[in-house]
Point group: C2
Chain length 306, copies 2
């Protein structure tokens, strides 16, 4: 693992204000959104190009902070109106959460438009947004080599045909276990995985929260442990951080073979574990490659047998 490079990775997704009710307190107006988390994580390894929309209430300082960390923000549209807002309350054990409010705001009329300089991106992360928008972004990229998409329960419920079109066009799906089971109508994880893989992607990455992640690919199945944390603070964005760190590494390395993907997954799980240790992006924003390397060694030890 080496520090950030200028290898581009295109990321589309939400930028948002989150109002978080956590066991440790209430945190309104936290900067969040799938694109934000993913870009910060990816910027440890590559040069993210963000496609997103923010309202006129979004702090310019957040955009300039992203610029200082090697993120191309020229694809962030500033629209009149309020930024997308999500409010959620976590259970005391952080294992579940309920959505209190979703305000689409400027996201309601968003039509992603890629700056010309973005169109040659070889690696693309379609973070969680409406599948139609993921497709619109994909249509504007010239000849991407590796595209991964995330999604959520809402789109499985109300936008399934569009979501299936997305799945058919990507090399990898990144999805959490509950959503995978919902999509497949099947609890057994191995059979549920087939419901995605049979549509075309070579790879499926199943996020399992505190249980880690699983990769399904041509080489079989791979288990990624989660780093056991003593002080969990806020799981918001951990999945986006994981996906951003994974795709950022694949962009940096320029290869997606089985071994590379497996090593990148362990590093991605490490980066995601830091995310949970702070409210919002506070911990990942202050993360160094050295931090990641240290904890990665501990993570690998969790499955090491002499």
């Amino acid at each position: 693992m080496s520090a950030e490079s200028d290898k581009p990775i295109l990321i589309v997704g939400s930028m948002a204000f989150d109002d978080l009710v956590l066991p440790s307190g209430e945190f309104p107006d936290v900067i969040g959104g799938a694109a934000t988390y993913s870009a910060i994580a990816a910027s440890l390894f590559a040069r993210p190009r963000i496609v997103a929309v923010v309202g006129d209430d979004f702090p310019a300082s957040v955009i300039s902070d992203l610029e200082t960390r090697n993120v191309d923000t020229s694809g962030i549209e500033k629209a009149n109106g309020k930024t997308f807002r999500w409010a959620g309350r976590y259970a005391d054990n952080l294992a579940s959460r309920e959505t209190l409010k979703t305000e689409l705001n400027v996201f309601a009329d968003f039509r992603p438009k890629l700056p010309p300089s973005y169109r040659d991106s070889p690696v693309v992360l379609l973070a969680n947004i409406q599948p139609e928008l993921q497709l619109e972004v994909l249509d504007q990229v010239r000849a991407p080599k590796f595209v991964a998409a995330d999604t959520m329960n809402l789109w499985i419920d109300i936008e399934r045909p569009a979501l299936e079109r997305v799945i058919k066009r990507v090399q990898a799906m990144v999805i959490n276990d509950e959503e995978l089971r919902q999509f497949a109508g099947e609890h057994n994880i191995k059979r549920a995985a087939q419901a995605i893989l049979s549509l075309g992607p070579e790879r499926l990455i199943v996020k399992r929260g505190e249980y880690g992640a699983m990769l399904f690919d041509a080489d079989g199945i791979f288990f990624v442990p989660a780093f056991p944390l003593e002080d969990e603070v806020d799981p918001t964005g951990a999945g986006d951080t994981f996906a951003g760190a994974l795709l950022g590494q694949l962009a940096q390395l320029g290869t997606v073979d089985g071994g590379t993907t497996r090593r990148a997954l362990l590093t991605a799980a490490t980066v995601a574990s830091y995310c949970v240790e702070g409210v919002g992006t506070t911990r990942v924003r202050n993360l160094t490659v050295k931090d990641v390397e240290q904890r990665l060694a501990e993570l690998r030890n969790l499955v090491h047998v002499e």
Copy 2:
């Protein structure tokens, strides 16, 4: 891994009839019980000595079958009355179950009495029974080198002081994640583990069902993946199978160092995965060391990185 040896392992626990309502159908009068599953699994590696009680309705053929697989059954008491019976209904996805009926029957008045030949057992598995009975067994063993105990939610609820006395006297606790959290009053697994370890055991093994298992010991934390099954039939006894296979190996190898324990845990997870593939003990009863070795290689590949 080599085939069964004459190294003794003492196992105390229930022998039972289970009435199972599974997604695949209703199965009454299935031979079960923690001691039964544990002994069959342990017999792949060592010579189990069972301490248990059965009623006069328990088939003699089951006892003689155990004898043919290297199990010492001289400590199985035949009492007048009915054998312990448990009835349970599993959810369609097998991820949860409800107890429909628990009939203690001959277990109600059971006082374990070890045959003299059992008293020198170096390795002891106190499978899930009332903690007072686990203590009575332990009092009758001369100088055991390695004792592991399992327990269940019921004893945490109603027999906590006795359970704590058990925990203080064993080298390892084997417990499932829900029970660990219940015991500790703490969701975070790392902090919950401390609630057990602070009472004295050098090792804690947390069973996590389809997510595998975790070991906490002086060397840190170790993750054991679960073998991903396509056809899960009946999870009954998988945890007991896991514990029996683990302790059977430690008895066989005569050492419990960190590396040995880690390797034994992977093999134990492999044996337990077979258990789930058949109703009751049907699959584990027909298991060979060669089957186990084959699947163990696949299991190890799940966490292998080039």
